[in-house]
């Protein structure tokens, strides 16, 4: 049931003339709506019918090429269950983008998505780009949330909106690329490899700083 459309890395461009931007993106939404599946599709081109539930959080990266800019996403995939809600701020803190996911065949998950949007607009970085993803588009015969309803909600709250399917890959690349396009890519320096600084060999006392987790600056 798994198909391969692109291989994990090596997909993104790294021509030394192009500039590189790095963004932190977080996925939120009720348990089992398909957050991990969307990421897996985007990063590895795969789909697992039996994708296990996320415990804690997972971190993945993937790059997309937008014109002459390489956009590197640092993706945080969180656990959906209410019990672990209190951990979420740790992951959306400092995020420049978020995808709030619901399952089009599950009305309840759409309501939950709305509370996530509210929380993000209240607590996350003010300029965060939020996308709403109505996932499991392939289950259209079991649809419980209409396209129009969700679209209207998204428009009212200035969200990007797409219906996706991690299973068929429909709109998965698109939603990430749309986000990438919407993110500010000013302030660009040429090619940076953020990790290479400060490697003076001896590490006693932990002299090295590594701050990319909180840095608000997206592009280097």
């Amino acid at each position: 049931m798994s198909s391969q459309t692109r291989s994990g890395s090596g997909g993104g461009g790294t021509a030394s003339a192009s500039r590189t931007c790095q963004f932190k993106l977080v996925l939120l939404g009720e348990s089992s709506v398909g957050k991990s599946s969307l990421v897996l599709r985007f990063v590895k081109g795969q789909f697992h019918e039996f994708q296990e539930s996320t415990i804690g959080a997972a971190f993945l990266t993937q790059t997309v090429q937008i014109d002459d800019t390489t956009v590197k996403f640092e993706i945080w995939d969180t656990a959906g269950q209410e019990r672990y809600h209190s951990l979420a701020p740790m992951y959306y803190r400092g995020a420049q983008a978020a995808i709030v996911v619901y399952d089009i065949s599950n009305k309840e998950s759409f309501h939950k998505a709305q509370t996530w949007v509210k929380e993000l607009q209240r607590q996350a970085s003010p300029n965060i780009v939020i996308a709403l993803a109505g996932n499991k588009l392939d289950l259209a015969n079991k649809r419980a949330v209409s396209y129009e309803e969700a679209k209207q909600y998204a428009d009212e709250h200035s969200l990007l909106f797409m219906e996706t399917s991690a299973k068929t890959a429909a709109n998965v690349m698109d939603i990430f690329t749309s986000i990438a396009k919407k993110l500010p890519k000013s302030d660009v320096n040429e090619q940076a490899s953020r990790q290479s600084q400060n490697r003076s060999g001896v590490n006693v006392g932990g002299a090295n700083q590594n701050q990319q987790g909180t840095s608000g600056c997206a592009c280097k």
Binding site: S7, E52, S53, A58, F59, R83, G205, N208, N210, Q212
Partner: protein, 645 residues
């Protein structure tokens, strides 16, 4: 696809651990996936690729034959003659790995389990490629080749680790020089230190401690190699290299530093040598002695044996019931029979409670409906790759749902929380019976229920205890985590919440859990297991300079790659070190639960019993409870070292 092949090495293998169901018994050879390791170039730059045989377009000496989704590959090799493999092509894709050169963070060359050199590539985002085994040699040559694309810097603490340095091509020469150290014996390094102490110390403080440690160690080399052989059960051509991995983790340097005007006071807490710990054989039927009334006569000893070596798989169905409080340890056969009757009745009574809720009722009972939804979702995706749960419409999936729903009735205040189904699955596989699985699961939940409470306080407490332990055992690493926003230890959340369930295969998790269920040798032993894994992996984290994101990814990706027996030995070693160290701070004592003043004597006795019978005398003699502190002061800027004493 405009790719140019720049370099290629054939006969490289990835080891895939065999399917779980096959390895409940003896060790089975891992499945090997052969392929080529290539350096390629396209318009975006250079990249490295592992291409499994069967996926290449051009086949040279070897040939492949594609039928449907499967590939028959044939290859001639000089040593073992010819080989033929028949594989599913779809599956092959998952073994294809590639990364761009600018993603490479470090590479390590080690001899793994079977004495075969292998390369481990780690990437800047925390990913680690699977070990690439060079069955026909050539790993050095490959590294040499890579070194024409990178500036490698040899790590100061781990001589087998090279990390990529990007700023400055000046160091290029240095890297070549360091690569040549491949051939250098450790003895030479020591000799160099002894002859040219000044120059060598300039190489860095950590290296000095390494060398000093090696100088101090030779007396123990006998026990070292014994340990080594135990670990890998094979003769290894050059144990020196791999040993240092083991020793690095076992003799973790405990450097407690206090910042002090450009100097750092470094005090080294000497916990004494890491005691040698042996594991024992699993408990077998012959080990159980029942008295006339069917009482397990020697249950204390059995518990100790379980701690030391686990339980033979066929016997788990019996002994897990004792470990999980289904039966009392000192129960008679008759009382067990009665107990079982009650258990069965109780279970079905509670099951009926939710089974008999009508749809109409359920619509007005949103809490139970919600939980049922959650349970159904999780049952569909819990361990579905295990044969026991594999097929759809599987009776075991129905059972899993029923058990979790019934547990929800049994413990309604707690309800169902994600993670519980993970804890249940291995129990179901062993018990293969709904009622027994339920009660064993309930017994397990009794032990760790607080992990799942709404406020998450207990998880937070455990994470903070973990941090305290790490600070004690390795303050250097602990500080590193602080500087990288990881002092909350959240990257260990999954380990603790479901007790490593996602980190190990089924056979390993069975073993680990039964060891933990004995509650030996101290409170919170699972935290010492965390520490042990972290100490074994800290070099990877620090050398690659991983931050918050990468640490979490790296730790998540350790799943399936942790050597359980080695970890158990190490964790017990840490416990013994604590037990024999005189100046253990109170907070640490509180975490592991000793000494409880009056009970002290007794506990020490018990732990002596835990040391394998044969070597108990030696091992305890080895633990010199020396509490010597060595003071070192060193200046950050130039790495020069002054020994103050």
């Amino acid at each position: 696809m405009n790719e140019h092949l720049l370099f290629e090495k054939k006969e490289i293998y990835i080891h895939e651990q065999p399917k779980e169901e096959l390895i409940n018994g003896p060790l089975i050879e891992p499945e090997k996936i052969g392929g080529r390791l290539q350096i390629l170039k396209n318009k975006n730059g250079s990249f490295l690729r592992f291409l499994p045989y069967g996926l290449e377009n051009v086949v040279s000496d070897d040939w492949a034959f594609v039928v449907n989704n499967s590939v028959l590959t044939y290859s001639k090799d000089s040593n073992s003659g010819e080989s033929c493999t028949f594989e599913n092509k779809q599956n092959l894709n998952k073994y294809k790995h590639q990364f761009e050169f600018n993603e490479l963070s470090s590479v390590r060359r080690i001899y793994q389990g079977y004495g075969i050199p292998c390369l481990v590539f780690m990437l800047t985002d925390g990913r680690t490629l699977p070990n690439l085994y060079f069955y026909k040699g050539g790993s050095k040559e490959f590294l040499q080749e890579l070194s024409s694309y990178f500036v490698f810097k040899k790590d100061v603490t781990d001589p087998r680790l090279w990390y990529v340095q990007r700023q400055n091509s000046e160091q290029f020469k240095q890297s070549l020089y360091e690569l040549s150290l491949f051939n250098e014996q450790r003895e030479n390094v020591m000799k160099k230190f002894l002859n040219e102490p000044v120059q060598s110390t300039l190489l860095g403080f950590s290296k000095v401690t390494n060398i000093l440690r090696d100088v101090i160690k030779p007396s123990e080399s006998a026990s070292k190699s014994q340990f080594y052989v135990n670990d890998f059960k094979l003769d290894i051509p050059n144990p020196g290299d791999d040993m240092s991995d083991l020793m690095d983790s076992l003799v973790s340097d405990n450097i407690h530093s206090v910042p002090n005007d450009g100097y750092e006071m470094v005090t080294k807490v000497d916990l004494g040598p890491m005691p040698t710990v042996d594991r024992g054989p699993p408990v077998q039927k012959e080990d159980l002695i029942f008295d006339k009334e069917g009482r397990l006569f020697n249950h204390e000893r059995i518990k100790q044996m379980i701690f030391r070596g686990g339980i033979q798989n066929e016997l788990r169905i019996t002994l897990w019931k004792f470990l999980l409080n289904y039966y009392e340890w000192d129960s008679t056969a008759k009382s067990r029979e009665q107990k079982r009757k009650i258990r069965v009745e109780d279970y079905f009574r509670m099951k009926l409670q939710w089974k008999s809720i009508s749809d109409e009722q359920k619509n007005k009972f949103s809490l139970i409906k919600e939980r049922e939804n959650l349970i159904e979702k999780d049952v569909q995706r819990t361990d579905r790759t295990h044969p026991y749960f594999e097929s759809d419409d599987n009776v075991h999936l129905v059972e899993m749902k029923d058990i979790l729903m019934t547990y929800n009735m049994f413990n309604f205040d707690l309800g169902y929380v994600q993670g519980m189904s993970d804890l249940l699955a291995p129990i179901m596989v062993i018990m293969d019976n709904e009622v027994d699985s339920f009660w064993c699961f309930a017994g397990y939940m009794d032990k760790i229920e607080s992990n799942f409470l709404m406020d998450q306080l207990n998880i937070k407490l455990q994470l903070s205890n973990l941090k305290a332990l790490l600070e004690f055992f390795d303050s250097k690493f602990s500080h590193y985590l602080e500087k990288n926003e990881s002092s909350n230890m959240y990257f260990c959340f999954r380990w603790i919440l479901i007790l490593f369930k996602r980190e190990f295969s089924f056979p390993d998790i069975n073993r680990l859990w039964e060891v933990l269920w004995t509650d030996s040798p101290c409170k919170n032993f699972h935290l010492l297991i965390c520490i042990s894994i972290l100490l074994m992996k800290k070099d990877d984290i620090m050398t690659n300079n991983y931050g918050f994101n990468e640490i979490l990814k790296f730790i998540n990706d350790l799943s399936g790659r942790i050597d359980l027996e080695k970890t158990l030995k190490h964790a017990e070693g840490l416990f013994l070190q604590l037990q024999n160290f005189k100046n253990v701070p109170n907070n640490i004592y509180e975490i592991i639960g000793f000494p409880v003043t009056e009970k002290n004597e007794e506990l020490i006795d018990e732990s002596r019993l835990l040391i394998p019978r044969s070597s108990s005398r030696e091992s305890s003699a080895k633990l010199s409870p020396s509490s010597s502190f060595k003071s070192l002061s060193f200046k950050k800027d130039d790495d020069s070292v002054e020994v103050l004493n």
